[in-house]
Amino acid sequence: MADKAPVVRVEHLSKHFGSGSARVDALVDIDMEVFPGQVVGLMGPSGSGKTTLLNCIACIMEPSSGRLTLDGEVVYDEHWLRADLRRLRLDKVGFIFQYPNLLPFLDGTDNVAVVLNLAGYGSAAARKRAIDLLEYLDVGDRKHAMPTQLSGGEAQRVAIARALANRPRIILADEPTAPLDSARARIVMDLLRRIAAEQDAAIIVVTHDEMILDRFDHIHRLRDGRLERDSAAGPKHVGASESQIASN
């Protein structure tokens, strides 16, 4: 990784809520780097600050102090605007929610295409790419299904397709395997590993699931808003497709 610049760089990042005696330090002096192609796990007990850190990196929560650099762009410097954050989220960040959060009034294809439309794609081009992505994620046959007609795993795959639509350099996932059984959780994690390798994207996954630890390149553990230790353990099991992808 040394020859590559980090896609996500967090330096001395802190976030607190309230003030005086009511002050809560949600994040304290966090330093973290994630490189292209890496899948990083963010673990810790409830209230440890995982989601707050993810929200800061996703540009929906402003840190109290520190520096955040996404794909070479410094975020939250003195000139940032709300529209810039929106553009960053649209262009550079793909987000996979704990629950799929699909728009209930759009079918599978349009749930993916809507992000492309927002990025300026024409309707036909957006739909074509959406269908390609759904096929890539093995849900091409469900492209016309409404969210209520999809199973949990299918809906999560459509949500992943939406997160990938704009070819983001950074993919953030907030407990993406929580609503899934262990077999499906492993499939989703393998899929994320494949995406990281194929698209050279940095993936940060917030999880409680100890069963998928072997799918991470790095694991960052948070406790009381502080980074506890940096586990650099590589995956015991590399996603089945990674070697295939490398050979492609």
Binding site: N55, F97, N101, L103, P104, F105, L106, A113, L118
Partner: protein, 381 residues
């Protein structure tokens, strides 16, 4: 991709039911507009039906519609002799109530001289009055048929319906009926037998019935109306009003209070409609809060969110407006009052609906813009 359309399509039943309710509300607004238009139109029609250039009435009065006016029957001959008067006719106006088939029937009776100005203008069925007694031309809203006999007056003389008119109503909605001047005078002054006997006993039976409410004058096209009006005003026992003055009296005095009442009801209904639309839009936006948060999270600009809400509000208003209009037009013949819905008033209500929807959507827009993208991260609802 039109998100508003997709959302409507997805919740079509809810959209249809909401629109049906809203269309009834907007239908009531359109009805009130029609009633308002009908009120003004009927009032003006009363004066315009006479096709007069000048109205000669009792001195110091604004008769015959705004105030009562009584002048001698020979006034018409005096007026006819004035230079510039082409034709003149005596008229009387009175409200009568009778009973037909056990139901009350109210008529606004106009007495006129056959072959002179002041009679019915356009018939939709039957013929004009040709006999000097007991024939009647009536508006079809009275529910009378040709050949039907209607008892009128204290002696219960039966008047035969010989002609029917359309849309000849007073501002209070009573159908207009025309009879000959003599019949009208008889109905106005004729006493019931006991009252007549008492009148004879007190020696007052010799009083003449030849009194009228106004004389209608048509002025020659070669003479200025004002010129004739000044000539007539030299008679101190008479007042002369031009057609324009008569119309002003009707709209500014006779129906002014009713007009204001209708206007007030209309404004209140528009406010109620706006509040209801605002609440519907607000509720629909609340239902979509998670979708809006997700859209914001993935980078949708505010204009996309605002567009979604405004388009839904407008489509709801416009669709409901046309359903409401369709319902009103379909049921118009069954309304107890005449509705006048001209293109202008329909366009005004449409514009008000559009403005109302835009104003009402601001509440939903405010809510939508306040939604934090981070809400998309909360547990699935």
């Amino acid at each position: 991709m039109n998100l508003a359309y997709r959302d409507i399509k997805h919740n079509l039943l809810r959209f249809v039911l909401t629109n049906f309710g809203l269309s009834l509300l907007l239908g009531v607004v359109i009805v009130i507009t029609g009633v308002y238009g009908g009120l003004v139109d009927d009032a003006l029609k009363q004066a315009r039906a006479a096709n007069a250039d000048l109205w000669v009435v009792e001195a110091g009065t604004n008769g015959p519609f705004a105030e009562s006016s009584r002048i001698p029957g020979d006034t018409r001959e005096l007026v006819s002799r004035v230079y510039g008067v082409q034709r003149a006719g005596s008229v009387t106006y009175q409200s009568v109530q009778t009973e037909l088939n056990g139901k009350p029937l109210r008529l606004y009776l106009i007495g006129y001289e056959l072959g002179r100005p002041g009679g019915p203008r356009t018939l939709i069925a039957g013929r004009d009055i040709i006999r000097s007694h007991y024939e009647m031309v009536v508006d079809r809203s009275a529910g009378l048929a040709l050949g039907q006999e209607v008892p009128l007056g204290t002696h219960g003389h039966k008047f035969t319906v010989v002609g029917l008119m359309r849309n000849e109503l007073t501002s209070s909605g009573d159908p207009v009926a025309y009879v000959t001047l003599h019949d009208a005078q008889g109905l106005q002054f004729e006493l019931a037998p006991p009252a007549a006997r008492r009148e004879v006993a007190r020696g007052g039976a010799g009083e003449t019935n030849d009194q009228i409410n106004a004389v209608i004058a048509k002025v020659s096209p070669y003479v200025q109306i004002n010129e004739v009006s000044s000539a007539l005003s030299r008679w101190k026992h008479l007042t002369t009003l031009t057609q324009e003055q008569q119309e002003n009296l009707l709209t500014k005095q006779v129906i002014e209070k009713s007009r204001r009442q209708q206007l007030l009801i209309m404004v209140l209904l528009i406010i109620v409609s706006a509040v209801i639309i605002a609440l519907i839009i607000y509720t629909l936006t609340m239902d979509k809060a998670r979708s809006i948060a997700t859209l914001k999270f993935v980078g949708a600009p505010d204009r996309t969110i605002v567009g979604l809400i405004v388009q839904q509000a407008l489509s709801m208003g416009v669709v409901s407006y046309f359903i409401g209009l369709g319902l009103v037009l379909a049921f118009q013949p069954y309304f107890p009052r005449r509705l006048v819905l001209d293109t202008d008033s329909i366009a005004v209500v449409f514009s008000v609906t559009v403005v109302m929807c835009l104003a009402a959507s601001t509440l939903g827009i405010r809510l939508a813009l306040k939604i934090d993208p981070a809400e998309a991260l909360s547990a699935a609802g």
